[in-house]
Amino acid sequence: PEPSSAAGWASVIRRISLEVRFGAARSTDFEVHRNWLAITHSLPVSRWYYENTSEWTLDYPPLFAWFELGLSQVARRFDANMLQVENLNYASPATVLFQRLSVIVTDVVFIYAARECCRCVREPKGSRDVLSRPSFVLAVLLLWNFGLLVVDHIHFQYNGFLFGFLLLSVAKHLQSQHLQGALLFAFLLNLKHIYLYVAPAYGVYLLRSYCFAQDNKDGSVRWSSFSPLRLLALGAIVTSVCALSFGPFIAMGQLPQVLSRLFPFKRGLCHAYWAPNIWALYNVLDKSLAVLGVRLKLLEEAELPPASMTGGLVQEFEHSVLPSVTPAVTLVCTLLSILPAVASIWLRPHGAQGFLRCLLLCALGCFMFGWHVHEKAILIAILPLSILAVESREDAGIFLILTTTGHYSLFPLLFTPAELPIKVVLMLMFTIFSFTALRKLHSAQGSLLHPLEVIYLLGLVAVAIACEVVFPLSPWQQRLPFLPLLVTSVYCAMGVCYAFLRLYASLLLRREEKPKQL
């Protein structure tokens, strides 16, 4: 539709100009990808996962490595020097240009995926002003998503490209083209294994709704309608993609090494900057109990481990008062958290919409309880939620909370004073748009947010002012430099937990309604 294509063009211009003006080679991710271009180009395949000249070793699945190999063929024409493994931190203008161009070009996948998602959205009857059509609102929410703009174009990653695959796969499922959706997800999983977060949703949904061709009248499983052919087709797709990606490494017997690179459990429970999840709240609880204990003379200060958790270093550490958390514990917690969602779509599938909801809950559950979660992972939940937000009022309310909190939690990624106006202005733009557009879309059914939620969101503004403006000028800057990060992640963690619970409620309580067919 015309307005969405205009939004698309405008977003292309926006992204290019953001790249061009703000792109700076100082982000470490820039060096990471340059290193991978060099490794895949200059070294034989057998050395890819053993190479560790640089500290940024290859830790994405092999299909991404093949992708980097393809990119390096083009890179050769820009500046062959970037492809030398020894050239650490090499950042000539041609290199920067090439890397930035590659992000812009691969973003085409994301734009295409956004268009496909807009086509899945139901348009309500009646003539509507172009700017308040659901498909236009969705297009802008996806293409101008603050988090994606910040993470991709200012920080440098290929998330637009990868999220394009995710959204495209979701769109295909919404359009009932399950094989294509499965194929796209298989590609995605082999490009970046973080999407394992949402693999349970895919697995259970495809098994339940695709392999069992029909349901009984009350919605339960009809065992007789099991179609081995479909199961075989799915299996063939997944195994062939994995073979394409992992094949050479299995043949060389390097699988354990590859897996150890992909899943490094040596890193700590939390990233240097705590992602706003349960463990951030857990850490704070532990710290405050420790401080309280020392004050009340219940603990000896000498017994406590040194304050390394908040020092900003990525290493293993122990909690002082509450029990320490091991990777196994996080795995169990994660599985427990997504179990109800997954069970729900097995027992009472609600078609593709239920699948989308379950996908969101899996993404959020893994974000909340996972080991060494990056705050950027919140985008895996925010982007698909946009699709639900333009259609249902309740989801729009949850979206506003999750998006605003999630996007604010990305603020510490841009920490120089020059970037302060950019992130504030971009965030304001996106927030104003999402609030007014969604409110206009769902205006007939009352207000979107409860007053308490509004107060919480306004509190974000206070936190922002305190962290960005007041704190650097205050005397605590020297003694407690991590304090703004702590406050940000704890405050946002509350919002994310709340959104998680509300999404769960909306999934489980929906059981009473008729399943929606799309």
Binding site: R21, P417, A418, P421, V425, L428, I432, A437, K440
Partner: protein, 505 residues
Amino acid sequence: MQTWSLVSICVLLAIIARWGVSLNSYSGAGKPPMFGDYEAQRHWQEVTYNLPIQEWYFNTTNNDLNYWGLDYPPLTAYHSWICAYIAKTINPEWVELHKSRGYESTQHKLFMRMTVLVADLLIYIPAVVLYCLYLTDGSSKKKVSIMFCFLLYPGLILIDYGHFQYNGVSLGFALWGILALGLGWDVLGSMAFSLALNYKQMELYHALPFFCYLLGKCIKTGLIGRGLFLLVRIGVTVLATFALCWLPFLAEPSQAMQVVRRIFPVARGLFEDKVANTWCSLNTLIKIKSILSGDSQLYLSLACTLLAVLPSCIRLLTKPTFWHFKLALVNSSLAFFLFSFQVHEKSILLAALPACLLLNDLPLMALWFLQASTFSMLPLFLKDGLLVPYIVTSLGFLFFSIYLLSALDHCSEDKLRLGAYNKLFYWLPKMDLAFIVRWKFYISIAAMVGLSIATAVLIPPPHLPDLFPVLVSTTAFLHFLGTFIHFNVVQFSEPPSRKSQKKSN
């Protein structure tokens, strides 16, 4: 969607565009000993903060006028003083007398850019928003589109946030003046314009239309009675504003005279660098500078300027409506730019502001001229290292204005007011003028793109080192001349009252 949210999103986008440009290089970056305009502004902060007012415009041991001496009226000096005060609280090294010459650092650059942004947010941007919301016709979406294109005009963004100047302040004050006159608040309007004049003397380009409009209005309401009363009030306001701004310098006549001497340096020649005006372009064919003496150059340019300005202003005097006022602003500033003495290429901004006012009524012509004005400053941008922002902002402006204003759709003869040409050239066979105009537009854009690429990429032949700047300025000159003639024709052909008389005039 509600208008306020659309307006705020557009303003935020405009701020992003400005901040994006400001992260690039500035004029004179890393080029001792003189550096550029950026250093000039920093130096003025140093001078105004550390020295007493009496010494600001004089050549003393502490104040070397050859190193970026103050050559703008007092309001600029006061603004520099305020900025210096803030700079001193953040980092005194920035404005230390003598020692801070050529000071360059990332924090300082951030601070300077911030001052420009703050000034814009306080003065220029609110004026644009109010103008577009209250003085343009059309649906609210149309108004927001106009406002967005107005705010995205690349020339002002690149000069203020790239090259580094404070044009937003003077143009903003002028715009407040225009806004007030449009709403019928003549006294406030004249006060705002006096402030603009006291900030940068180049606003004199706009002075004649203001004068003729207000005088014409007074005459129309009756020179005996209300008209005279209005005239007296305006006169008193203007004098009072000037007096207030020049107060510290009025104690001694020598002080005031020195300031005037600094503001109007008549010792220089007809033109300096490659400017897109008549004299520079004529110089490529006939070497005027060497043929005529200094005095006769002065008289020639004075005569030509007067000749070019008078028709439009007299028309405005006889028919003082807002529509004629806007057209007269464009015509007058273009006339001054084309024929005046010692014109800088940045002065085209004074013509661009009134052209932005016409984005609603004559979208194609206005945006064509605005694009040409940005193009004419290309050699300056190349010298400052602003090529990439230039490309991005120009393309963005072109795309958004063509798409949002549907400039190419409303291309009928009637809309373009080409009826007059038919009457003028009645002896020629009837042609589809709208078609011709559209094709001229395409060709011209293609030429500008081609020349931009050539200037940026190609190396000129050794015997013609200035080939590309000359080509750029001549092309721009042709565009400006064409625009000047067209808008004059429009001003003379249009019936005095526009379709709605609801604007009080």
